[in-house]
């Protein structure tokens, strides 16, 4: 009768080399990829082609007020971008714009806005104070739920957005799957002739993430 014996067998020479050869790179990749994930600047550069669960879309756009010379205002938009152009800015030029943003993804998301300006080579983050200081553009924006009782935007009773449950999240299903971003631009350049013939290009990103920035950009 044969007796089965189990012998503890140590790793072979080949296995002993393979284990660290796999484990060390994988651990490094794991750590670096989480690190990558936490870098907000890198996150922003990837949004244009992102197709993850977070999915927001521009679903409407309203020019509430515009006193420029381009009639009708030169504005175009689709579900991911809105472009507004005006080549006849003058001191006192003003634009009031409302954009409807809808969560068309499967999960609730936090949203926040950030401003960047084009310096001729790249997009540089900028805030409202610097927009005014550099370009005399008095810019404010904020997220709102609706027009309030009077049914008109840019009045005192516009309802600030807080999210369906007051948690500043945009939900994938109604109610609470839409938010309205009000933007007010005023070219306050009466005493700044040095700005004549200057071209300013800036953009406002509205970002969405499941665990996003809680700065909701209400201005």
């Amino acid at each position: 009768m044969k007796t089965l014996r189990y012998h503890h067998r140590g790793p072979s020479r080949t296995e002993g080399r393979l284990l660290p050869a796999f484990l060390v790179p994988i651990l490094l990749i794991t750590l670096s990829s989480f690190g990558y994930a936490m870098y907000p600047s890198n996150l922003l550069t990837t949004f244009a082609t992102a197709s993850g669960p977070e999915d927001i879309s521009i679903t409407d756009c309203l020019v509430i007020s515009y006193n420029g010379f381009i009639i009708p205002p030169k504005i175009s938009w689709n579900d991911t971008e809105l472009v507004f152009e005006d080549d006849l800015l003058y001191p006192g030029w003003e634009l009031k714009l409302v954009t409807e943003i809808t969560n068309i993804g499967p999960m609730p998301v936090h949203i926040w806005a950030e401003i960047k300006h084009w310096d001729g080579a790249s997009w540089i983050p900028i805030n409202e104070d610097d927009l005014l200081a550099l370009f005399r553009l008095d810019y404010t924006n904020g997220f709102y739920n609706d027009t309030g009782p009077d049914g008109k935007w840019f009045t005192d009773d516009d309802t600030p957005w807080t999210g369906r449950h007051g948690d500043y999240r945009l939900w994938p299903d109604p109610p609470g799957n839409k938010v309205y971003q009000k933007e007010h631009l005023l070219f306050d350049a009466q005493d700044h002739p040095e700005l004549q013939d200057r071209v300013f290009t800036f953009k406002v990103n509205v970002n969405a993430a499941a665990n996003g920035n809680n700065n909701h950009g209400a201005g």
């Binding site: 990837t46 949004f47 809105l82 001191p91 943003i101 998301v109 933007e183 290009t201 406002v204 970002n207």
Partner: protein
Amino acid sequence: MAAILIPAMIISVASYAYAHWTDSVYKKYKLHAKCTYTKIKTNKVLTDWVDDKYIKKAPSDEELSEMDGSYALQISTNKGCPGFDVWIGMMLHNQGSLPERVYPLTFVVQASPPNGVSYEASNFTYGIFSGGEFTDYYAHITRSNFRETLDPDTGIIGKTPIDLPVIIEPCQKIVIWTYLKFIDGQSKFNIQIRIAVNSELA
């Protein structure tokens, strides 16, 4: 080993995917600032009371800056006297990119010493000129013929003035002739005339 490797690989992939789990829309604004800029393109001072060398004009940038940018032209002489009269011609040019509404010029006339100095003034505006037709209203009026061409009561003889304010488009011009006559005062005094252009976006 597989029990270690497989979760490790899943975590790696998942964490990279997490990095892409954000979405954005953006709004881009491209804005080009234009200007409203109507200025006194050229001017002339016509009088036969004194030689040109006694008429001082201050249109340089430095001197305009000294005037706090409030005035576009300053004319002065130390040869003022009762009866002294002068025609000041100015061509205003919209050098901006937008139409502007031009209002009557602002004149500040000061005499030093001011004792008893009084004066009368009248303004005549001509235009609106888009080409070279302004020459009959400005360039052809010179020190040698202004007494025959300009009338203190009617302006350019044979020409009909227009009323201000007027809207002038970019590149258009208007011509303004101002007549000043000092009536009373000491036998000799200094005169300083400051002129401001008043315009706004039409």
